[in-house]
Symmetry: C2
Subunit: 407 residues, 2 copies
Amino acid sequence: MRVLILGGDGFCGWPTSLHLSARGHEVAIVDNGARRRIDRELGAASLTPIEPLAIRLAAWEDVSGRTIAAHDLTVGRDFEALVALLGDFRPDAVVHFAEQRAAPYSMKSAEHKRYTVGGNVGATHDILAAIVESGLDIHLAHLGTMGVYGYGCAGAAIPEGYLTVKVETAEGWTAREILYPANPGSIYHLTKTQDALAFQFYARNDRLRITDLHQGIVWGAQTAETRADPRLINRFDYDGDYGTVLNRFLMQAAAGYPLSVHGSGGQTRAFINIQDTVRCIELALANPPARGERVKVMNQMTECWRVRDLAQMVSRLTGAAIEHLSNPREEADENDLVVENRRLLALGLEPITLEDGLLLEIAEIARRYAHRADLSKIPCVSCWNAERAAATAPSMGEVGVGVMAAE
Amino acid sequence: MRVLILGGDGFCGWPTSLHLSARGHEVAIVDNGARRRIDRELGAASLTPIEPLAIRLAAWEDVSGRTIAAHDLTVGRDFEALVALLGDFRPDAVVHFAEQRAAPYSMKSAEHKRYTVGGNVGATHDILAAIVESGLDIHLAHLGTMGVYGYGCAGAAIPEGYLTVKVETAEGWTAREILYPANPGSIYHLTKTQDALAFQFYARNDRLRITDLHQGIVWGAQTAETRADPRLINRFDYDGDYGTVLNRFLMQAAAGYPLSVHGSGGQTRAFINIQDTVRCIELALANPPARGERVKVMNQMTECWRVRDLAQMVSRLTGAAIEHLSNPREEADENDLVVENRRLLALGLEPITLEDGLLLEIAEIARRYAHRADLSKIPCVSCWNAERAAATAPSMGEVGVGVMAAE
């Protein structure tokens, strides 16, 4: 099939583009380089040395004999160009990664909040409106997040998008299925819940075929395709804004830096390996909803872990120390989490579980590139509100790693 | 108290500004003239001859001896100016009308959809982020819509924002209170549901005090204050995009044009008179939620009517004919609607009900200005999707009123 990947130069978008190309699909990328621009803004960089997109694409052609076209346009701004591209390329499916995806970045300042809301909600709405304008029956697969559900609903497994509830009617308490009530934990997560409402609207009003993949926290960096050539290497973020928890731990261990656990570490989160991410997207594209069907929501995660248990595992494997820091996020210190993920398993996903061998492989990447790390970028300095900022001020006010580590 | 009115030159914003000023509050208006610009875009105009904002404000000073300051800035774009204004004026409350408020306009084209999403979601987020930036404990009152609830939930009254449901947990079916599941019927309504999520987030994360008023369809045009001088007259929209159903019927009757009922007219909607709108806002400002409290949602409506019953009432009063047209909207042809509105009644609202005397007074306004009407602007030409456009094509393709009337 023909697949257009919005945000195809990013952490998930790049390996997805290669995976779908390797599997014989005709792939084209839309990317405006926003993620690389943010690296420059933050003075941060991928731990791994990623190549410019043009070199990546040339390398892929060398390695695979397959070409991937790239289009530099901003989804959410260049609307006419997007409509024209849909008309020219006539994709069977569009995969939508073209959003700012870091919760801490979204909370750094009013400008970062505004950028995230305007960019994400605008990009999602533009692709929906563009599909309607194109008149084509394009399947849209969007990368959402488990975080839209919130993490406060102890006692019941989180279903795949829709929740059966009973409501009181004239006939007594009657079962209804509703979109799971959103409880976003950051501006980034808020935008994903706003996206979800747009998907519901366009699926109903224009009968668009839409899949929303509620993804867990991604760990790992490489896939079969990104390993095929050094020029294809995927990005590996470790900074306080874009680094995700397990990858950060592995990099911190490699750099001899104590593992940063914020609060008690009792936060339980859902996880998925990057290789499974790309497989899930392929499965989602192979199994679209029918026209007129409601939005198909699948939980794209394979296991749940408590943050302090992850830290202990990495500490046991590597000997790294663990350090408890105050939590800059407005969130519960402890939560349970049970998630249903039967739909992707039923489609054939065979999960890569978080076991020692693979962890060590990733730790090895972290070690190989540890010399590239700027340790001053490790601390999480983005606070969720004034109270959290005040609580973390003693360490945030200081510059440099030593002070953070000594807190 | 000091009150900043965003969108204070509009249909609801203007009479609200005058009402609050008359009641002794210090009022300032923010308005960028967007609604008047849209009139020019549509080649439409208020049936009543409204004055430019500067003349309105000078007239109000003549009549009342009170001044209202006006600031020409775009909420959703001029963020720094908005933050500075909050710091200078130090309002106790902000009333937020600064959104594109017509469902048909929001569905006219991809550009109108994009304008509505970007403008409304951006404006709402900007005022929230600006209040956080200001560091002030400002109460935000937002004009939402009954339409966020959708109209498909027969059998249960629509509560005020929150719905008690039972969810299945390890302990069996347990009661929970959730935000009423959104079911927006247009892009305009979608943006209000996206706003609602932003309100929830900022109330929880930053402890902002927020009231969301879910308003019914407003009828009438004048209030005690706008009647005080011809230069204070409020706008009266009758065009196919901005005219609301009852005011349109009254104007159609005055102009000798058949009353346009789309579909069977079985749509039941909630209504409120413009005089009650301004009273409700005053009541909401006098009764804000506490800091740390969840968003306070109140249903700002006073009665429900079926569209065809309204048409029959106006026909009986005026002798106008009724004409059934195909429905350009993607919506149920018939629905029941029961709405709770106890909160504003408990605060002291004494509803103006839709009875003959007041209807005739509004019909009189319509008659007085009927010579200003451009009948070619009456038809609803905005279709919700390709199917609805195809179904209405035979009439939409023709220009002029005669053909519409003959359908």
